[in-house]
């Protein structure tokens, strides 16, 4: 099990990088850009074998940031390719990420129906 302070430091650093990108670039960076950037970077780093070591050190500090979601997609795809070949490239990513995506859609929909925006 990963100790909590490792998760704190690794997760904190990943968020800090995002903040630096937002504050130090001239272009208008929206939260959407940050999310797309993180999932893409995480998926690529995972493909290069560079993200798993971060998960070993940081645990949830590496899997909870959206780059960890990208890592999950890539690892799911690679595992499925080993078992099913080309079909795995199509099915593996979403299979691995299914729990998170379904949770986001279900809880997101319910919350949006129950609550009203402020202001």
């Amino acid at each position: 099990m990963v100790p909590w302070y490792s998760a704190f430091i690794v997760g904190g650093i990943l968020c800090l990088i995002g903040q630096l990108v937002m504050d130090l670039t001239k272009a208008q960076i929206t939260p959407g850009h940050i999310l797309v950037g993180y999932i893409t970077s995480g998926a690529i780093l995972s493909g290069l074998g560079l993200y798993q070591p971060l998960v070993e050190i940081g645990g949830a500090g590496a899997t909870i940031p959206l780059s960890g979601f990208g890592h999950l997609l890539t690892q799911g795809t690679l595992k499925a390719v080993e078992q099913k070949g080309l079909l795995g490239a199509f099915s593996g990513g979403i299979e691995a990420a299914a729990a998170g995506i379904t949770a986001a859609v279900i809880f997101g929909y319910i919350a949006a129906v129950i609550f009203n925006p402020k202001g």
């Binding site: 997760g11 968020c15 995506i101």
Partner: protein, 154 residues
């Protein structure tokens, strides 16, 4: 005469720009970074505690991580609905965007905003206005890495 006017105008413009640059508030980068680090770190710490709890019950690391994501998404959807998450986001910046809770927040916030357009094409469609692009690029990158692996294996 006209040339002189033009020159004066250029000088005025430059002085104006300088003034704007001087007066315009610069983002307090250090303060923002500390907030992002601490809040992002705390969100991940909470997740780690949840994950360790599930692993303590004898769950595999993968399953424990999946349950942790589900719970974090649930908490973020609730906090967004209550208006708490966006208050946090004003200070925490990337600290509240980068974790998966920020992904859930984006889903709920945009879906809630378009409720007046109906429950099917308002909420149902807008739920993906930020999550959609994120998933499209995530799926695409993972697919192409998988395809590369197919070629390497064959």
């Amino acid at each position: 005469m006209e040339e002189q006017n033009l020159e004066l105008k250029n000088i005025e413009q430059k002085e104006y720009d300088d003034l704007v640059n001087k007066v315009k508030p610069k983002p307090p980068v250090l303060k923002n970074c500390i907030w992002a680090f601490v809040v992002g770190g705390l969100i991940c710490t909470l997740a780690q505690f949840i994950q360790n709890y599930f692993m303590g019950l004898g769950m595999s690391r993968q399953d424990a991580a999946s349950y942790t994501s589900i719970i974090m998404i649930f908490l973020a959807a609730l906090a967004t609905g209550l208006g708490v998450y966006d208050e946090l986001g004003k200070r925490a910046g990337a600290g509240s965007i980068v974790p998966i809770t920020g992904f859930a927040n984006a889903i709920v916030a945009s879906a809630m905003e378009f409720k007046r357009e109906g429950y099917i094409f308002g909420v149902g469609a807008r739920i993906f206005s930020v999550a959609g692009p994120t998933l499209v690029f995530g799926f695409a990158v993972a697919f192409f890495i998988g395809l590369l692996k197919v070629f390497i294996n064959s």
